[in-house]
Symmetry: C2
Subunit: 166 residues, 2 copies
């Protein structure tokens, strides 16, 4: 591998290991654990799972790799904050969507894309914005979404377990 | 900029913006806020500040960029977990060390290092380990430490403020 390929592999490897870490954390939580808040008055784990799934799904068009699988998640999980009253999918159903989205995305990410491809602008930067700031590229999306996942994982591990479990 | 330079700039930009975000969060906390735990029974913010400072300081030799500035931090903040009894530096003193370490590190990171340099092995991988797994390189250290910071920032923002402040 040349330096380009090694750098790209490093970014994808960290993405994969962070998603795997999340998978393990989510797998150990019951439906009632999912209803726990990460701190008093803050997001429920089930909300964060939906939020992360929506944000990862949105990476597909942002990387200009095609259409989203679950655009319907944005209304509840991106455009609106967590509200106890909101009628959310179950934790189990969201976990299926989570795996589905990440599985699909990983196939797209691992198709041997070149450094030139990764260094191109992402879909939410215009040609003009990208000329001024070339860090508004596809690799930056991958790196920032890996960080976004880490940020929320740090929170999820702090949530108390539901008493009694399910 | 060519694709290499754009990818490296993307990684450094995310590092800088994550450290800036941390700076802002820490700047808004009083000495007594620093003594708050991120969740019941979990780390105090002052401990996490020391931990992050030690981990960033350790990046200098890990990237093979020279010697650490504050190796003395490891004993309390890396080798040992947070203990209420431990005699920690003040939050204010640690914030000075934090700024010092990050400032020094940023100068080193921004000296125009090449893709070939970033793709070389980091100091805790042997030549043999690196041949088997080329993602054990310097760029991976920068990416994973950015994620590590995001992970703990997600936690720090959940800590309750100290009643009364200071």
């Amino acid at each position: 591998m040349n330096a380009d390929e090694i750098m790209i592999a490093s970014a994808i490897t960290l993405w994969k290991s962070t998603v795997s870490r999340a998978d393990k954390i989510f797998a150990e939580l019951s439906e009632s654990d999912g209803s726990q808040r990460v701190a008093p008055g803050r997001n429920r784990i089930v909300y964060l799972l939906g939020h992360l799934t929506a944000v990862h799904d949105a990476m597909i068009p942002l990387l200009r790799l095609g259409d989203r699988i679950h655009p319907e998640l944005d209304d509840v999980f991106v455009k609106n904050p967590d509200r106890a009253a909101a009628d959310l999918p179950t934790f189990g159903d969201l976990r299926n969507l989570w795996e589905n989205v990440n599985g699909h995305l990983l196939v797209l990410l691992q198709q041997g894309l070149s450094a030139a491809w990764w260094a191109e602008r992402h879909a939410s930067a215009s040609e003009e914005e990208f000329l001024i700031n070339p860090t508004r590229n596809r690799l930056s999306i991958l790196l920032s979404r890996t960080n976004h996942l880490s940020y929320h994982l740090g929170q999820i591990v702090l949530a108390p377990r539901a008493s009694g479990g399910s």
